[in-house]
């Protein structure tokens, strides 16, 4: 997937001009966060449950190396094969080889964020293996060659007319219709044939359980179940941080995941695989490959503060509560992960230089933090990234602000701590600044400060300052 995080501002502007999208977000967005609030309220003590989720994920991260080893040991004992990949290329090459060795013509895929991140689909296609995304939203996004708009509804923004035209062209939709249900059933029939004859399936993993070597998928459509039941070869891909210690921990996380995600108490299907099918079983995989991908996580892990972002379980509660996401939607973020989740993840996965706008395009209101079931403090993280960026931290590939900016702020600090100089400067600068004032506010300026005014206003500078008035009052008295 092409990474466009550098284009955030331009992409966001474009999205803001899309009236249809804005109307859609206006209606749909409050519904999502309302559902989430109602869902979480079905637990006896929602706040305690969220805090418990944070504790589970904190412990999982602090014990990560031992839990991964334990998971691997038990997964192997279950009969699965485990492959570790340092980066996207190693993971993609391994999976591509598995497909080639087996003469696979096409694979069906369950939605997997980590394979969006590694760009697996492109690599498989380049090697002559057709890829069918089978989650309805992901299928539409894939056919339209678009990134996921939302982690849970990857194509939920796409107007029905566009889906109709796409299906007429690509999947032999018999009669043009604008009914989402009929469109869905057309996709059902088309993908059903893929499920029927598929010889290799690829899925993500929501949770990996150390104590049993079990992998868990949480879904509503059944496409992941098909992908794990029909073909003789199953490949399941996880990033290193997906592991939790125990089955009981996994159950608690599932309760939180579903409620925070769609407001459901439980999704239609939760499937838990411990190894390939046993002898005598007629369906399910004969061979199960679990691919554990690092792709930058061990690097994030070294930083005890940034480490907290690895707790994320991709529930999307933060997207659904974010006032910025609620205006611009998911495309502007420019990669697989959108909303506050992407804003804390992308900067450390891609480096601070390429993601400049992501940790700045925020009101720091903390809505994301307040709904997060794993205790990620997004606003603090944004400030942390900004500080690292200004200081030019090489570890996370920070840009370091221009020398001129640094010199300016040094001079500014020097000047504002000397009242005589401050007063002199104000007098000199005031006519220049105030000349563009309209109705008491200055909303644009030429020169080096133009950027600051792009999203902010400044009240006109007083022609007579408080200090001057105070002096005058003393004189008169």
């Amino acid at each position: 997937m092409e990474i466009k995080t550098e284009q955030f501002t331009d992409l966001a502007k474009k999205e803001l001009e899309n009236d249809r999208l804005r109307t859609f977000l206006k209606v749909w967005f409050p519904v999502l966060s309302m559902k989430r609030d109602l869902g979480i309220a079905t637990l006896p003590d929602p706040a305690a449950a969220q805090a418990y989720g944070a504790a589970i994920r904190e412990e999982a991260m602090e014990r990560l190396p031992e839990l991964l080893e334990e998971f691997e040991k038990n997964a192997l004992a279950n009969g699965a094969k485990v492959f570790w990949a340092r980066d996207a290329k190693e993971a993609n090459d391994y999976i591509t080889n598995l497909a080639k060795e087996r003469g696979i013509k096409y694979v069906t895929k369950g939605k997997s964020m980590v394979t969006e991140e590694t760009g697996l689909n492109e690599v498989l296609s380049q090697n002559g293996v057709e890829v069918w995304e089978t989650d309805l939203g992901e299928f539409i996004a894939q056919q339209l060659h678009r990134p996921p708009f939302h982690i849970v509804g990857p194509a939920i923004n796409v107007p029905v007319e566009e889906v109709r035209d796409l299906f007429l062209e690509k999947i032999n939709l018999q009669e043009p219709t604008l009914d989402p249900v009929q469109l869905g059933y057309a996709a059902r029939i088309f993908l059903r044939d893929k499920f029927h004859h598929v010889q290799m399936g690829i899925t993500g993993i929501n949770i990996a359980v150390a104590e049993t070597g079990t992998i868990i998928n949480v879904e509503n459509e059944g496409n992941i179940r098909f992908t794990k039941a029909s073909p003789p070869t199953q490949v399941s891909v996880m990033s290193v941080e997906k592991v939790v210690a125990t089955m009981k921990d996994a159950l608690h996380m599932i309760r939180l995941l579903c409620r925070n995600c769609t407001g459901q108490k439980l999704t239609a299907y939760v499937s838990m695989d411990s190894g390939p099918k046993k002898s005598g079983e007629i369906d399910g995989p004969e061979e199960l490959f679990i691919v554990i991908v690092d792709n930058g996580r061990t690097k994030i892990y070294q930083d005890p503060i940034a480490r907290d972002v690895l707790r994320c379980i991709r529930c999307a509660a933060c997207l659904n509560s974010c006032p910025v996401y609620g205006k611009i939607g998911g495309y502007a973020y420019g990669w697989a992960y959108s909303g506050p989740m992407g804003q804390v993840l992308d900067p450390v996965l891609l480096g601070l230089e390429r993601t400049q706008d992501l940790y700045r395009a925020t009101t720091l209101c903390g809505a994301c933090k307040s709904v997060c079931p794993v205790g990620i403090d997004h606003p603090s993280m944004f400030l942390y990234y900004r500080a690292k960026d200004v200081l030019g931290e090489p570890y996370f590939m920070a840009k370091r602000r221009p020398r001129s900016e640094e010199r300016f702020f040094k001079a500014f600090a020097w000047a504002v701590s000397r009242p005589w100089l401050w007063n002199l400067a104000v007098r000199m600068i005031r006519p220049y600044i105030n000349k563009d004032a309209r109705e008491g506010v200055i909303s644009k300026m030429k020169g080096p400060f133009a950027g600051w005014f792009r999203t902010r206003d400044l009240p006109v500078m007083a022609w007579i300052t408080f200090h001057e008035r105070w002096e005058k009052m003393k004189e008169n008295a």
């Binding site: 570790w84 509503n220 089955m247 439980l266």
Partner: protein, 243 residues
């Protein structure tokens, strides 16, 4: 030659596997303290009577558009099944051979009622079984290993008598759940299926290749948020509670 290889190995990094490298990096990272876990009050289902649990189960499942029938015994379950199959006009069904439905001898029941009853054991290989379950079966009939009141959820252990596609590929899923298998919350299910001792050795081979929770029919909301059932899996689920 051997010596050269050994020397290279000793040089370290180049030879280190991805696994060892990843784990070594994680182990080398600075440690943080783990906070104690907070108290979480128990779920309300844990203090319910049996009847309350049944009511909770039914309410939850109906919310997800599931249809629930309650019958007193297995004979009544078979009668209810006949009634459903007649009402739905089913001619071909795929049936599991699990310990709930096997004693009902559904193949014989099918002959009496002029319904083609197939089990996966009628098929010698995966592909022919798939042809039947994808293209022929108008419904899948299974037992349930568990019924969980917490969310109106069925628990299925997949094994040689419970094929995965029976409850998935046909457009209608009919499940028979004996009431003695009703539990309040997921934890009781998981303890029974996965054992209650963490990391006990020798337990792994006993784990089912797949354990499944089913809560209502397959669904999606992926086109403009419009919710509908039957995206890839069953459009409807009918549960017969026995007892």
């Amino acid at each position: 030659m051997r010596k050269a290889l050994g020397a290279r190995r000793k040089e370290g990094k180049m030879e280190q596997s991805a696994r060892d490298e990843i784990l070594a990096k994680l182990r080398a990272a600075p440690k943080k303290a783990i906070h104690p876990r907070p108290y979480v009050p128990p779920l309300s289902e844990l203090s319910m009577t049996k009847e309350e649990l049944i009511e909770r189960f039914m309410k939850n499942l109906v919310e997800e558009t599931g249809i629930v029938h309650r019958v007193p015994d297995m004979q009544a379950a078979l009668d209810k099944l006949t009634e459903i199959v007649k009402a739905e006009g089913l001619k071909k069904v795929m049936v599991s051979t699990d310990d709930v439905v096997a004693p009902l001898d559904l193949p014989a029941w099918g002959q009496r009622n002029n319904i083609k009853v197939m089990t996966h054991k009628d098929f010698s290989d995966r592909e022919s079984f798939k042809d039947a379950v994808f293209q022929e079966a108008e419904a899948g009939i299974t037992g349930a290993d568990f019924a969980v009141a917490e969310t109106g959820t069925l628990g299925l252990i997949h094994n040689k008598d419970q094929a995965r596609l029976v409850s998935l590929a046909p457009i209608l899923h009919i499940a028979i759940a004996p009431l003695e298998r009703m539990v309040p919350v997921y934890e009781q299910v998981i303890e029974k299926v996965f054992g209650d001792k963490a990391g006990a050795t020798g337990r792994s081979p006993l784990l089912p290749s797949q354990f499944l929770f089913i809560t209502g029919p397959s669904m999606t909301g992926d086109i403009q948020g419009a919710l509908f059932k039957g995206m890839h899996g069953p459009r409807r689920i009918i549960v017969i509670l026995v007892g």
